[in-house]
Each structure stands twice: as structure tokens, then as C-alpha cells.
Symmetry: C2
């Protein structure tokens, strides 16, 4: 079994060798900028890991891994336009560096390029591969729509939030795992187990992301802490607190532009602390990681492969960036 | 052979029966609004016509026809955001009726839904179908990028313009024709002839569109005349005139916001008239229509099918809306 670092190097090497057409320069330059901007590459690593764990080699699913990473970066590009975000991974976003039209059109191109990459497989596998990819894409858009819908709602239930992050984030990790299994030629049951592993891992992953936005170390996390609180973002923390805060204190901060930012972050976090939400959030993350691990328990793969996926799940809950 | 009206009715009937998920409402409602907003449906009609001319029946390529129409409407939706257009087919554009985020995300969803529709075919045909569709999509984006690039250039050559409209408009008509042929099980040579027919038809079609924007009857054309002139849009007319106008008069109007709109339209059209551009543009349109017709001359399809494609090409040059 390859290490995570080896798989990451394989992905980054492959990304570096993607050949873009020379023109129109204004279309392909922002794509290169986006895809080559770094990131954890967790999704393509999962694809390669699943595939090699099941007997495939690195090349077997490399195009699919790249396609999924391309898709993920396309969603970030368009999400940044929708959120009017200025910075991504420490650099100006595409719509800031170029303009909005460029961001929209380059994003569209990335989606089709992603589909092209994913489709680079045998005729026999193509129908399974494209079906999984398209279905996942639709779910990701639905998740993004729910996320935007939640902005104007103060009555979002925990279950709705979990379903939203399942769609927006988790199914793509599930897809990444299942794609590797599909390309290795695994049967339906094994494919489904890998899909379920990815989805549960994705839930742990996203909840940890939300946790770090409030409780992370800004130096390690790589972005400012408290953004979610300032934007009244309906995360597990806020939704839980809104439900449980009997003092009515929290509600006063929602939509309130008159509070000084640092004071708002400090006060809201104090309410979270009174409700012990940091600990409880982490318990939930651990639960999802354990559920992910359980999905692969009965799958017939080498022990060292199983260890890889167990460690990845455990690391995801402990990561600080 | 079915009449164009029968094929159109078949398409519109199928569009009416597309089942959208109930939620998230905010994602699917704008898609319905866009796709059900009418239009000529020329692309899906071409798919059905090619398929039935080659022995397929209406159902054989209906999903592919719908997918191509869905794709076309996705490009219009995103183009309207990029152009900041307020009105499409007499109704507010999606980003005006809802907002920009909705337009971007619903458009993304339409692209994936289009891919799903196109992929509804036998495993045997899938690899050809998806390859054609993806390649066409990439070319359409490239065409849109060139179109935007041309806005800030005054040295666009006629050949560059023809290549731009080939990419932005014509290849999708070529794809529509070839898709029908592919689904009917035609061989490579026949598929290529239908593709070439569609591309040439598309060039005639787009040049006629440009012509009507300057010389059409506003009551019949359905939108205001002279928009291209007011926006200094690099059409065949303007590019030809810029090259040939030795008085330097035309150049004074380009980028000039101080001229009253009706006067600008009147004056620029007067320059076009002096150069006999209306007639010459129409000669070029006729030439492309004849080139389209010639592509199908040696293809073995029933005479009445051939007549259908001949008449469609001739009508495209004479259409007034």
C-alpha cells in the first residue's frame, strides 16, 4: 500500500503534466491557476487509495482521480463567485484576479474537462463511472443550494444541516472512494462499502472544518477564525446553540451588524462554551469517523490497506488545518 | 419523414414531461423557467431529423435531443450573466428574476442534467456520444471566450470571426446532427457528413442572426434592431466595414458614447450600405447554406429526408426571426 504522501505526489505530478490548449489563453489560464493552487487533494488520494487497495495500480484510476479533483476545484471557483469571496488558499480568487465572466466560463470549462477525465476508461466501465459522477455532481449542487437557502433561515434543524453537508461535501468523498473501487473492478457490494466510508468520512471532515473555523489556531488553520460566527453561518455549532440557548442571548447577535467583530466572536463562543459544544461537536466527529471505519471492516482488502483508511479517518478528526 | 413542426411538437412534448425533483425548489425552478421559455428548438429538431432520416425512430435519439437543448439553454443562461442581459425571449433573465448565484448554480445543474440526458443510451454508443458532447461543449466555451476577447479588440480578422462563430454556435448544430446519426447507428462517414452539414448550417444561421440585428424588422425579429451596432459588436458587418471604410468615418463611432443611439445606428448602417454589405452578407449566408446542402448530397437517405435538410438550410437564410 502506498502512503498518503506517495499518492499525493502522484496526483500533483499528474496535475503538473495536464496539457492545456494554447488558446484561448483567457479561458485556460484561470483553470491552471485554480487547479495548481494546492489544496489537500484528499479526494483524488481517496480514489487512488481505494483503487490500489483493491488490486488496481496507480494508473488504473488516475484520470478519474484527476477528474474528481478538477470537479472539486470547479465547485470552489463557482462557490467563490456566489459567496463573493476575495481569497482562496492565500491567493486572490479568480473573479477578483480576472473578472466574474472569466470565473463563470472557466468554471464551466473545468466541469466539462472533469467529465472528460472521468470518462477516460474502458467502454465496459464507462456507464457506471459517468452515472456515479453525474449523480454526485447533481447532489453537490443541491447541497450548495440548501446552504444558500439556510442563510435566510433561523429554523434550520440539525438533521437538515447534516443532510446539507452530506450533499455539498460528503457525497463527493463517497464518489471519490467508489470511483477507485469501480476502476479496480470491484463488485457492487464493495463499491457501496467504499462509497459509505467516503460519505461518513466526509461528514467528519466537514464538521471538523466547521469546528476549526471557530476553535482552530489561525496560524495553523491558514485562515481567520470566527468567519462563520460573523456571517451567522448555520453550522452544527450555531444550530445546536440556537436550539439550546434558553437565555435568548444568542439570538440577539444573529444579523446584528452593530456588534464589533471580535466582540461578536468572543461572545458567541462563550455561549457555545456554556453549552459544552466544542466537546460535543468533537464527539460527533469521532462518531462519524468510527462509522466510516466500520464500513470497511468486512471488506476483503489487505490489513495495511485497511490501516490506511482507518488512519485517514482518525487523522481527519484530529487535523488542525 | 416527419415535418419540422411534428419534430418540434415531439420536443416540446418531451420537455413538458421532464420530471424535476421537488426540492431544492430554488435550484430547479429557474431551470424549468429557462428550458420552458420557448425558442426555436432548432438543435433538437436536427437531432431527431438526422436520426429518423437514417432509419431511427423518434424515441431513438429523444434523450440526446433534449440533452443538447438543455445544454444550449445552459449556455444562454450563463451567457446572460456574463453579458449582464436583462431580457431573454421577452422575459427577465434568471439573474434578474432571481439573482446571480441562482443563475450560476442552476446553469451548472443544467450542464450536468444535459450530460445525464445525452448519456441515456446503450453502453455500445455511450463512448461515442459522450466524447462528441464533451468535445463540443469545450469548443462552445472557447467560442464564448473568443467572443469576449473580441470586445476589446478592433483588429479582428474575418477569418477569426468565422472561427469564433464556428466554435460558439456552429459546432453545437453539427453535434446535434451527428448525435442523431450516431444514435441511428450510422457509420463514421455518414456521421461526419451530418456534422459538416450542421456546422455549415450553423455558420449561415449565425450570420443571418447578425444580419437581422442590423437589417431585421423589429416587429418580426422580436428584439430591438441595432443592438450590435450600439455595442460595437465585432460582427461580420462591422469587421468588413472597419477593413474597407477608407474615409475613417466608421472608426469615430467605435467606443463613442457621445453619439445619440438612433443616430449611431443610422450612420453606421449608412456606411454599411455604401459598402453594399447587406447584399454581400446575404451572398455569404447563401454560400454557407449551399455548402451545408452539398455535404448531404452523397449521403444515402430517402429523397424526402434530403428535401427536409435542403429546405431547412434554405429557410435559415431567409428567416426573419
Amino acid at each position: 500500500m502506498f502512503t498518503q504522501e506517495e499518492l499525493l505526489n502522484c496526483i500533483n505530478g499528474a496535475i503538473d503534466t495536464i496539457a492545456y490548449p494554447q488558446s484561448p489563453f483567457g479561458l485556460y489560464e484561470p483553470i491552471k491557476y485554480t487547479l495548481h493552487g494546492g489544496g489537500k487533494r484528499i479526494r483524488p488520494v481517496l480514489t487512488l487509495a481505494a483503487c490500489t487497495a483493491l488490486g488496481g495500480n496507480l494508473d488504473t484510476s488516475l484520470n478519474q482521480a484527476l477528474g474528481i479533483e478538477m470537479f472539486h476545484n470547479f465547485t470552489l471557483l463557482h462557490d467563490d463567485v456566489m459567496d463573493n469571496a476575495d481569497v482562496r488558499r492565500g491567493r486572490p480568487t479568480v473573479h477578483k484576479k480576472w473578472n466574474e465572466s472569466t470565473a463563470i466560463l472557466s468554471g464551466d470549462t473545468m466541469l466539462t474537462m472533469a467529465t472528460q477525465l472521468v470518462c477516460k476508461c474502458s467502454d465496459l466501465k464507462l456507464c457506471h463511472v459517468i452515472k456515479l459522477f453525474n449523480q454526485t455532481a447533481i447532489e453537490v449542487y443541491e447541497g450548495q443550494q440548501y446552504d444558500m437557502d439556510f442563510e435566510s433561515r433561523n429554523d434550520v434543524a440539525i438533521e437538515e444541516y447534516i443532510e446539507m453537508i452530506r450533499l455539498k461535501t460528503s457525497v463527493l468523498l463517497g464518489c471519490a472512494c467508489k470511483m477507485g473501487a469501480l476502476m479496480a473492478g470491484a463488485n457492487d457490494e464493495i463499491c457501496q462499502s467504499f462509497y459509505n466510508y467516503g460519505v461518513k468520512l466526509g461528514l467528519a471532515f466537514q464538521l471538523q472544518d466547521d469546528y476549526l473555523d471557530t476553535y482552530g489556531d489561525p496560524k495553523v488553520f491558514g485562515k481567520n477564525i470566527g468567519g462563520d460566527i460573523l456571517n451567522d453561518k448555520k453550522t452544527w455549532l450555531l444550530i445546536s446553540a440556537l436550539k439550546e440557548d434558553e437565555t435568548g442571548e444568542l439570538a440577539k447577535f444573529i444579523g446584528n451588524k452593530n456588534v464589533e467583530p471580535q466582540e461578536k466572536i468572543h461572545s458567541v463562543r462563550a455561549i457555545y462554551d456554556k453549552l459544552n459544544l466544542a466537546q460535543r461537536c468533537h464527539d460527533l466527529i469521532d462518531q462519524y469517523a468510527q462509522l466510516a471505519i466500520a464500513e470497511l471492516e468486512n471488506v476483503d482488502i489487505p490489513d495495511e490497506s485497511k490501516d490506511f483508511f482507518v488512519n485517514l479517518a482518525l487523522k481527519s478528526c484530529r487535523r488542525e488545518n
